[in-house]
């Protein structure tokens, strides 16, 4: 308890200084700094409230003699008032300062002062004098018209942004970069206020015409955070724009997904599918740039975990969700398959991307042989400079669990002599590193005991065979 109290005092000094510098957050620098610290300041306020509510007014002033200044400064900063629950917590802290039974005029005056500050927080706003006079003259109070006013301002700004986006050549009506940057900063504390959604969406979707990014990174981070925590709901197009414009946000979204997968105890495939669909990443990945980043991160995860089966399962479920999403995607926006797998031969990509369930049973053998051929070609391509070699091809192949499954099933069901091509595929799936000789031996082993390996599922189920083991040879892709 004593340590907490010391921490609080240190924090107090820190924030007191910050607030003095920020003042009313009217310059670019102070606004940026305020935005970056909003969440932490709110935490500090919470801790203060927890401490203050246990004390009476006199004790509070003994402990924190300048508390009134600290709270007042915070109240004059519109960014702080606008953020999340900060205004509420500030109010609670102020209420703690009130003397229940004022003994002297000083205490009475303090009570009056607190009342005044509370009133200021709520009736804010140093607005246009004319507008204020007009509305008062009509008999309206801010509560009557502020929601409507906010809505009008948001919609007006959003349509200005859209116009700016579309009318590139009309330089008179362009929004200046400074104004755009300013708007994005101002939105940071407001991200979770639903009334502001149209503006956030417009900021994300309308790029303007400058070659470099104008919007503040704090803005992208705040939006991304809100999306991941489900505190805002934006259309998919806006989310895609966010992830295309700000790579760290996309990476954070992937990491968030990984965290969920790791922290959840037992991950059946259905739950993995739920998490993945929930993350909106499959739909976003219909845009090749996003797909490449996601794929890269999966590759890294595979490397870091030495080929953990969970990661492979996740990749396979992701691919299914992705292909489903691609199917639903607007036909006009379809990108060539090559753009999703730029380092693969187009013929291989095309054949792998088919839905195995679409292949009629009679053609299974043929298709699998074809896949085997193409893969083998890619694997045995020894020319220097070819990317990756066997592991690259293997990484591609494990994206599609359906094919390995089909191989296993075909081998099981067919009474005839198993074709070498299929055995090769299976051996490759489980041991990508093997040299030629080793693989040949493995293939022989398969002929002898096909049932010992793998978890052969009945037809129609989308579960992959038991995951292949990554040999610890330290190869890098």
């Amino acid at each position: 308890m004593a340590q907490e109290s010391v921490d609080l005092s240190c924090d107090y000094q820190f924030w007191m200084q910050k607030l003095s510098v920020w003042d009313q957050a009217s310059t670019l620098g102070t606004q940026q700094d305020t935005c970056v610290h909003l969440a932490r300041f709110q935490e500090f306020l919470r801790k203060m409230y927890e401490a203050l509510k246990e004390m009476d007014s006199n004790t509070i002033f003994e402990r924190f003699p300048t508390i009134d200044q600290l709270l007042a400064k915070a109240c004059w900063n519109p960014f702080i008032l606008a953020y999340d629950e900060s205004q509420k917590i500030l109010i609670w802290c102020l209420c703690c300062l009130i003397n229940k039974e004022p003994q002297n005029s000083r205490q009475s005056k303090l009570n009056s002062w607190v009342q005044g500050v509370l009133s200021h927080i709520l009736s804010a706003l140093r607005f246009d004098k004319e507008v204020a006079l007009f509305t008062q003259g009509l008999g309206y109070a801010p509560i009557d018209y502020y929601p409507g006013l906010l809505k009008n301002m948001v919609l007006s700004l959003a349509s200005e942004l859209r116009e700016n986006h579309l009318n590139g050549f009309n330089t008179q009506r362009r929004m200046t970069p400074e104004r755009l940057a300013s708007l994005s900063r101002v939105c940071v504390p407001l991200i979770t206020l639903p009334d502001v959604d149209p503006l956030v969406e417009a900021l994300l979707v309308c790029h303007g015409h400058e070659p470099q990014e104008i919007l503040q990174p704090e803005f992208f981070e705040a939006v991304n955070e809100a999306i991941l925590l489900k505190k805002i709901s934006l259309p998919m197009s806006a989310v895609v724009c966010l992830w295309l414009r700000h790579l760290p946000s996309l990476e954070k979204a992937m990491l968030h997904l990984f965290e969920k997968l790791i922290s959840s105890e037992r991950n059946c495939l259905r739950r993995i599918e739920c998490f993945i669909k929930d993350s909106s990443l499959p739909q976003a990945a219909c845009h090749p740039a996003i797909f490449r980043v996601v794929d890269e991160m999966f590759r890294c995860a595979l490397l870091e975990t030495d080929g953990a089966p969970e990661i492979i399962a996740t990749i396979q479920v992701f691919m299914q969700c992705f292909l489903e999403a691609l199917e639903k995607e607007n036909k006009q926006l379809r990108f060539a398959l090559k753009t999703y797998f730029p380092y693969t031969s187009p013929s291989l990509a095309m054949v792998l991307l088919q839905d195995p369930q679409d292949v009629p049973r009679g053609c299974w053998l043929q298709t699998l042989k074809h896949i085997s051929e193409l893969l083998r070609e890619a694997v045995e391509d020894q020319t220097h400079g070819s990317r990756g070699g066997p592991l690259e091809s293997w990484f591609l192949f494990i994206h599609f669990g359906g094919w390995a499954e089909m191989v296993a099933e075909q081998l099981l069901r067919s009474a005839a002599e198993p074709p070498a091509a299929l055995l090769w595929l299976l051996a490759f799936y489980y041991s990508p590193h093997d040299g030629r000789q080793q693989r040949a031996q493995t293939m022989m082993a398969y002929v002898v005991a096909p049932c010992r390996r793998g978890n052969l599922q009945p037809c129609g189920q989308r579960h992959s065979p038991a995951p292949p083991r990554w040999p610890k040879t330290g190869h890098h892709m």
Binding site: K53, I143, G148, L157
Partner: protein, 374 residues
């Protein structure tokens, strides 16, 4: 029902008193009761706001109150100002009390406790008063930040968000006042004209006259700025403008040409009066032979450029108005003697200027000189 209406009466009184020094006499019990009444009425509004008979009864009661207080001529309503206000009457009361420094220590302490009980179990059904107040603070900050960091005044006033909001409020109020009393709007507008900054008021009127008519929605109780039959409000405005020549003259003088053209296109009843004014202004100018331009005799006379501007704008309006304007100009020209030579009749000169302006415009646009209708 009668007890509900009495409740309404008493609460309205309470609300009016909450702003005065009289609250010095309030003790915690009074404060608590006041907030309870507010909560009760808010609840009534939420439950029965759409319900025909109850809503009508409440509205009628409010209108009676206003009539009795003779508010239309005097100033803003001291108590409850509209039916929609019931939806957040607890917030209204809370804010008024918080602003009132005359409140005694005990009452103040109790008020603050009631308004801000602290973190606790949120009410599942309705938003708590604490939440409403926090949201208002947040909303206010949002408006403030957008106003000073992103907002730019739209040169087309009718699209400007501040103007639009004020216009919506004016129309809504006019409608409510009109329901309360037939002659209400006219008196109300006159009192506003005397009390409010006039320049801003005129702009708001113009924007209000240009708001798009919404399709009538049955009994919808959403934000205050949505009104059911905007036509009524606009009609009241037009009626009042036509009945007050001094106001209308100021209206036409203060507002930009383009805006006035839009307004007169939308409300044809205004065009004869507008044209009449323009004619009057034109007749006050005389030709200065030395300088070779038309000038006024007094400083407040409308200068040639402005006159020309307005006519030019009117000639760019769609047909019914444009034709009326040209006919009026031709008539005036004829009355003056139908001269073709410049410098003798201002109407001749105006027509010449308008025609050549149109001609030059067609040249610039690469159109054939052809038969322009000017």
């Amino acid at each position: 029902m009668e007890s509900l209406l009495q409740h309404l009466d008493r609460f309205s009184e309470l609300l009016a008193v909450s702003r005065t020094a009289h609250v010095r006499t309030w003790d915690p019990v009074t404060v608590r009761r006041a907030l309870q009444w507010a909560r009760y009425l808010r609840h009534i509004h939420r439950r029965f706001g759409r319900h025909g008979p109850i809503r009508t009864a409440l509205e009628r009661r409010l209108h009676n109150q206003w009539r009795q207080e003779g508010v239309f001529g005097r100033g803003p309503v001291p108590g409850l100002a509209s039916f929609q206000a019931l939806g957040h009457c607890d917030v209204l009361l809370s804010l008024r009390l918080l602003e009132n420094q005359a409140l005694g220590d005990a009452a103040r302490h109790h008020l603050v406790q009631q308004l801000f009980p602290g973190p606790g179990v949120p009410d599942a059904d309705e938003e708590t008063l604490q939440e409403s107040l926090a949201r208002l603070a947040r909303c206010g900050s949002a408006v403030h930040m957008l106003r000073f960091n992103g907002y730019r005044k739209n040169l087309n006033l009718q699209e400007d968000s501040l103007m639009k909001t004020q216009a919506d409020l004016l129309l809504e109020r006019l409608q409510e006042v009109g329901k309360a009393e037939a002659e209400g709007p006219a008196r109300f507008l006159s009192s506003l004209w005397e009390r409010l900054p006039q320049n801003n008021f005129l702009k708001v009127i113009a924007v209000a006259l240009l708001q798009p008519p919404l399709s009538p929605r049955p009994q919808e109780e959403s934000e205050p700025s949505i009104h059911k039959t905007p036509g009524e409000g606009s009609q009241a405005l037009v009626h009042w403008l036509l009945g007050n020549s001094e106001v209308f003259a100021a209206f036409c003088r203060a507002l930009p040409a383009g805006l006035l053209t839009l307004v007169t296109s939308r409300h044809p009843a205004l065009s004869p009066v507008y044209l009449g004014l323009l004619t009057d202004w034109g007749q006050r100018l005389h030709y200065d032979l030395q300088k070779g331009i038309w000038v006024g005799t007094e400083s407040q006379d409308v200068p040639w450029e402005e006159l020309h501007n307005r006519f030019q704008s009117l000639c760019q309006a769609p047909p019914p108005l444009k034709d009326k304007v040209l006919t009026a100009l031709e008539t005036c020209k004829a009355q003056d003697g139908d001269f073709e030579v410049p410098g003798l009749s201002i109407w001749t000169d105006l027509l010449l200027a308008l025609r050549s302006g149109a001609f030059r415009k067609r040249q610039v646009l690469g159109l054939s000189p052809g038969l322009s209708s000017v």
